[in-house]
């Protein structure tokens, strides 16, 4: 297969062998996997991809795992939902939701990156895997480590949602909660990785880990029957996924799976309480000033985004833009997606929905062009975020008369009468 040629520094181009290295010794730039695109062009076609199982491994020539994948055999290839009711609400013509809230096995986009990272950890001979996480990565590393029978240490901020915590500890790793925010956890883990020599998914395996995020972009294009959408809205935390989705679109052209021509405009979404990339974007600077996060969107509460600079570059190069959403707007975004499309996302997804709405209202995203909203996490893990905002169940005895009385007392909104519209009005 041999489509992977080595690692190079994204900043200075210095070359390194394929190994558990993530930082350039010359300039501290991030290392990136290099591929032989000419060879991939000869090996890979739309037909070959279509013949393979519905998982992220159908694009394996464009992933940095040389042998057979070790874990995550069912990760990826999540639904691309045509979101007509949300489209009607937002007043746009063609809208899709790429729904990683149902990714296997832990219901977030992280199952993509971790499938690659843990497969590489096994390939490199590590016996212990680890990560610093705001929750979703913790869930995914723990599950994949359990499946692979690897020792596992997880480091999280102490204030995470219960669903994220239990969704980690259930798999049996040693879970360490740190008094501090994600950026504090990161700093500690960098020092632990140096000292203990474990495979940290997002530290020393980062060059491989990040490659998994490309599959999110590959799938959008394949699921649109090999067509680029015109606009894609992606949330930003540390900045892994957005530049990799942009790279995915480019690679599809480089290996001949897509014709050359215009690629999608890419927009980013951050929570107003943690928006260092949006700040830099709006201030027209490359300099990202770190912030202390203060938002309910904990999964994207990263004040010092390692790849924020590349998010800025990818957004600007594509002709896109970005906005931030307040906590109230984030909650509204979660409810809007749930009540129009039946998809329950976490606050990161609410952020993306809210920002998409804002960009459409601003005229940044035209109403008559194709749009994809990237939903990367699941709302069942972050119940706390919406607990006070949703209707509580109406409690009655198991008697028809009680229900009759209740029904008579309901408002027309409680009865859902606003939903009795002519379905044709939706289109």
């Amino acid at each position: 297969m041999d489509t992977i040629t080595g690692l190079t520094c994204r900043e200075c181009g210095h070359a390194y062998p394929l190994s558990p290295l993530h930082v350039c010794e010359m300039c501290f730039g991030p290392l990136e996997v290099q591929y032989d695109y000419a060879s991939i062009r000869q090996q890979l076609s739309r037909e070959i991809i279509a013949s393979r199982p519905a998982s992220l491994w159908r694009y394996r020539e464009l992933l940095p795992v040389a042998g057979e994948p070790q874990v995550g055999l069912h990760s990826g290839f999540t639904p691309l939902v045509k979101a007509d009711r949300l489209a009607a609400h937002l007043g746009v013509k063609e809208l899709y939701v790429k729904d990683d809230s149902v990714n296997h096995p832990t219901f977030s986009y992280k199952d993509r990156v971790v499938s690659i990272a843990i497969s590489k950890a096994i390939e490199f001979g590590f016996e212990t895997v680890s990560c610093a996480s705001t929750g979703n990565l913790a869930n995914s590393v723990s599950a994949h480590a359990a499946r692979a029978g690897l020792r596992c240490f997880i480091f999280i901020p102490a204030d995470l949602e219960q669903g994220k915590v239990v969704g980690t500890t259930i798999y049996g790793p040693c879970t360490v909660a740190i008094r501090g925010n994600y950026d504090d956890v990161n700093r500690l883990c960098s020092e632990i990785a140096d000292k203990y020599g474990w495979a940290f998914a997002n530290i020393n395996l980062r060059p491989y880990y990040t490659e998994g995020a490309k599959t999110y972009g590959f799938e959008i294009v394949e699921q649109l029957d090999w067509r680029f959408p015109q606009h894609v809205v992606v949330p930003t935390a540390g900045g892994t996924i957005l530049p990799k989705v942009a790279q995915a679109f480019e690679e599809l052209q480089q290996v001949g799976l897509m014709e050359s021509g215009p690629r999608p405009k890419i927009y980013t979404a951050q929570a107003a309480g943690c928006a260092p990339v949006i700040q830099a974007l709006h201030n027209e600077t490359d300099l990202i000033v770190p912030v202390k996060p203060k938002t309910i969107a904990k999964s994207i509460a990263i004040g010092n985004p390692a790849d924020g600079y590349y998010v800025l570059r990818a957004v600007r190069d594509s002709g896109g833009w970005g906005e931030a959403a307040t906590d109230a707007e984030i909650i509204e975004g979660i409810q809007l997606l749930a009540q129009t499309e039946g998809i329950f996302t976490e606050p990161a997804g609410g952020t993306t929905v809210a920002v998409t709405k804002k960009l459409i209202e601003q005229g940044r995203i035209p109403r008559d062009e194709s749009i994809v909203i990237c939903i990367t996490g699941n709302g069942y893990k972050t119940i706390e975020a919406v607990l006070d905002q949703v209707r509580q169940p109406l409690l009655i005895e198991a008697r028809l008369a009680d229900f009759d009385q209740l029904y008579a007392s309901l408002s027309s909104e409680q009865k859902g009468e606003q939903l009795k519209v002519n379905p044709e009005e939706l289109h």
């Binding site: 900043e11 993530h22 930082v23 350039c24 010794e25 010359m26 300039c27 501290f28 730039g29 991030p30 992280k110 990560c131 610093a132 996480s133 705001t134 979703n136 990565l137 913790a138 994600y182 950026d183 504090d184 990161n186 700093r187 883990c189 960098s190 020092e191 140096d194 000292k195 998914a201 997002n202 530290i203 980062r206 880990y209 990040t210 935390a237 540390g238 900045g239 892994t240 000033v289 770190p290 202390k292 990263i302 010092n304 985004p305 390692a306 790849d307 600079y309």
Partner: protein, 91 residues
């Protein structure tokens, strides 16, 4: 006056494999100059041509990012702990 500086793996080739080195100086900037004199090559790894800390380098004084303090002018004193940490992907 001596400050302990934690050195990440990518820099240890310059410190003879040492994970912690001592350096002297009243500010982070002066510390880096002092490290350069004992471990040549350190400064160009940490700082760009204009002398600013590189984009992918984080420097912490007692656990706080110097960008929340006074950047290279951040004062340091005897017994402080300084860490040099490469940027880390999100999670």
């Amino acid at each position: 006056m001596s400050v302990q500086v934690r050195i990440p793996t990518p820099l240890r080739r310059l410190t003879g494999g040492e994970a912690v080195v001592s350096a002297d100086g009243a500010t982070v900037g002066v510390l880096i100059d002092d490290m350069e004199s004992h471990h040549p090559g350190t400064k160009e790894r940490l700082c760009d041509e204009e002398g600013q800390v590189r984009r992918f380098v984080n420097i912490f004084v007692n656990g706080e990012d110097i960008r929340f303090l006074n950047n290279l002018e951040t004062p340091v004193k005897d017994g402080d702990e300084v860490s040099v940490v490469p940027a880390i992907a999100g999670g």
